[in-house]
């Protein structure tokens, strides 16, 4: 295999993985606070649309990404309001959010299916990007790829190195106890959900701003669901999101390349692999949970918190 092809494959994997990293790291924080939001797909597609629309009208990538972030946040706030204040069922509300997002974006985006935009380009740092091999791999990625890695670090730092992170985790593990010692469960969860929405929005926008310069209905094509699986795959540990996303995204890209080289591995089997891995990890989590050696699953995940005092 020659060098430029190898670099191209790595860049391809990074492009396929980044939307998953964004969406999954947001959802990870949400789930760590004890909330299960199945609306990731819906929040992503709204982000994809808003990013595209703003890029189309302004040509300003910063505004476009920011709009996607706000859009994801806005639609997640519906979920946050319903589940945190009206105490609706999280699974049903999350599914409804996905349906709403897909339908709303399809409707609102009607006028944009004929348009195209200028993509957000990979960066080029003089000298550094020109180093053979290392340059293209480390210093010439798309700015949003670096941002995705940084967000993973930021979430890890927040969860495990800050007091607020500790409180958020304690809320996710036992909201009654956290409430009893005076923490505002609803406020923390509300903020976490908004953060999850923002990240899903940016992840969706990555598709329409970096991967392809078009807007198409349903263009997220199930990536939100993969992100949800990814959080489980990562056992709710931030850095494992990167590993999982590279696995999930990498398999897509590698099997396309394998076909080009006429290496015969069944595409269907390959596409199954990450999900199989997720199931295996779920099983091992259960076993470790039984032996009380696991501390990463948020105990209150999906449970409704109702303050009685």
């Amino acid at each position: 295999m020659n060098e430029s092809l190898f670099i191209n494959i790595i860049i391809g994997i990074s492009i396929a993985s980044t939307p998953l990293i964004f969406a999954a790291i947001g959802e990870l924080l949400v789930e760590r606070s004890g909330v299960l939001n199945l609306g990731v797909e819906g929040m992503m597609i709204v982000g994809a649309l808003l990013g595209f629309v703003v890029q189309f009208h302004t040509g300003n990538p910063f505004l476009a990404v920011f709009a996607a972030l706000l859009g994801g946040m806005a639609i997640s706030s519906i979920f946050a309001f319903l589940t945190q204040f009206l105490l609706t069922n999280q699974v049903a509300t999350g599914l409804a959010l996905t349906l709403f997002g897909l339908g709303f974006s399809a409707f609102a985006g009607r006028g944009y299916t004929e348009e195209t935009i200028v993509l957000i380009k990979a960066i080029h740092i003089p000298v550094l990007s020109d180093i053979p091999f290392i340059g293209p791999l480390v210093f010439s990625m798309n700015p949003l790829v670096y941002l995705a890695f940084f967000m993973v670090y930021l979430v890890w730092w927040f969860l495990f190195k800050t007091k607020q992170g500790l409180i958020l985790r304690s809320i996710g593990d036992n909201h009654d106890a956290a409430h009893a010692i005076g923490h505002n469960v609803v406020r923390y969860r509300f903020m976490a959900i908004l953060f999850g929405g923002a990240m899903a929005g940016v992840g969706g926008a990555f598709l329409s701003l970096v991967q392809v310069p078009i807007w198409g209905e349903d263009m997220t094509a199930g990536r939100g669901w993969i992100a949800l699986g990814l959080v489980v795959f990562a056992s709710w540990l931030p850095f494992r999101i990167i590993l999982g996303a590279i696995l999930f995204g990498g398999i897509t890209v590698l099997q396309l390349h394998a076909q080009g080289f006429d290496i015969r591995i069944s595409a269907q089997y390959l596409s199954m692999l990450p999900y199989l891995a997720t199931i295996l990890i779920l099983v091992s989590l259960r076993i470790r949970l039984k032996n009380k050696t696991n501390r990463t699953v948020p105990n209150c995940l999906g449970r409704i918190f109702h303050s009685t005092s």
Partner: protein
């Protein structure tokens, strides 16, 4: 990657509601329904069908009430959608190969309703099949690709290994080979009709592996944008995709379903509809072409134009023997052309010379 298609349920509900309010037209118009595999905004397959629907509506005016449902997955969902449409319509068009079995199944339960299934081959008393000879279009773009490639690698983004897609690959390869004996075709299956992200990934992979001309048999404009970005050539699929690849698009195969739809619906109105098997091509105007790009050398353009003229006069057939199958066994003898059924409509093999293995 499996798609979750709850949205079609929602759309069905919304559409039926809309219909309930709009169906107070006089003189018993024909009620025609269309089932689409993707969104009409794909600017490919579904878009082309929808353009046909608009044409027929314009032509027939108040004589017809159209219902269209997008994003209907090719699974049990489709049978439910077709059933509910059969209850309220006089004629139902199902516009994807994967709707074949559900269409026939529902047709048996609703003998008074007419059905039209695109790209399949199962005829019933109340089920017509219709398809276009897209392989004639592939013949033309195959010739252009064979001339335009410098790396001698033509990339092909394919959806599912069904006869229609296989015909396209074989036809494009034979045409490219006829003008460039060294040409090689790399086929990548994405196992989806519409996933812009994955189509773009596939286009990138093919370009990285040396392809400098891309063909696609998927529905979105994603591959065209990647071709434009990378300075390689591509062909519009099902509609003119020039907007997304002003330099990349050499020409495009355009599916023109409009006149057919208008005819069939008018036949229901006039009571003359009967089950039929339509397989029309360049000659009948069902397969058309986007304008040739000016960045093509004149000889290449002329050669392509000549092929279009020959096809439209029925002078040539893209599959003219001698042609062997990939394993070397003979398919067509010298000068022989294949019958529609079974050879063309159930084609499940590559022709000799294609390097890629046939997908299983």
């Amino acid at each position: 990657m499996s798609k979750v298609r709850f949205s079609s349920i929602l759309k069905l509900t919304v559409l039926s509601t809309v219909l309930a309010f709009t169906s107070n037209v006089s003189a018993d118009p024909v009620k025609a329904a269309f089932v689409y595999i993707g969104p009409t905004g794909d600017h490919g397959w579904t878009y082309a069908h929808d353009e046909g629907v608009k044409y027929a509506k314009e032509k027939l005016g108040d004589d017809v009430i159209m219902t269209t449902i997008e994003n209907v997955a090719e699974n049990s969902d489709s049978e439910r959608v077709i059933t509910s449409l059969a209850r309220k319509n006089d004629i139902v068009f199902t516009t994807s190969f994967g709707y074949m079995n559900p269409t026939v199944k529902v047709a048996k339960r609703y003998p008074d309703v007419k059905f039209e299934h695109a790209t399949g081959y199962m005829l019933e008393d109340n089920v017509s099949v219709y398809s276009a000879r897209f392989y004639e279009g592939r013949h033309v773009i195959g010739k252009i690709a064979g001339r335009m490639t410098e790396s001698n690698v033509v990339g092909y983004i394919a959806s599912f290994p069904i006869p229609e897609v296989i015909r396209g690959i074989n036809s494009a390869f034979l045409a490219a080979k006829s003008v460039n004996p060294d040409v090689q075709i790399k086929v990548v299956w994405v196992y989806s009709w519409y996933d812009p992200g994955k189509e773009a990934d596939a286009a990138n992979a093919l370009i990285a592996q040396g392809a400098d001309v891309l063909m696609q048999h998927t529905d979105s404009t994603a591959a065209m944008t990647v071709a434009e970005e990378n300075g390689v050539y591509a062909f519009g699929q099902a509609s003119n995709m020039r907007e997304w690849g002003p330099n990349a698009q050499l020409t495009g195969i355009i599916n023109d379903w409009g006149p057919y739809y208008a005819d069939r619906i008018a036949a229901v109105r006039d009571g003359t509809w009967s089950s039929s098997d339509t397989f029309a091509g360049v000659q009948q105007g069902m397969v058309k072409f986007a304008p040739m790009n000016n960045n093509m050398p004149t000889e290449v353009k002329n050669e392509a134009m000549q092929a279009i003229i020959d096809l439209s006069m029925g002078k040539i057939h893209p599959f003219t023997g001698p042609i062997n199958k990939q394993d070397g066994s003979p398919w067509l003898a010298e000068g022989e052309t294949p019958p529609n059924f079974p050879d063309l409509l159930t084609m499940d093999f590559y022709v000799e010379g294609i390097d890629s293995q046939y997908p299983n």
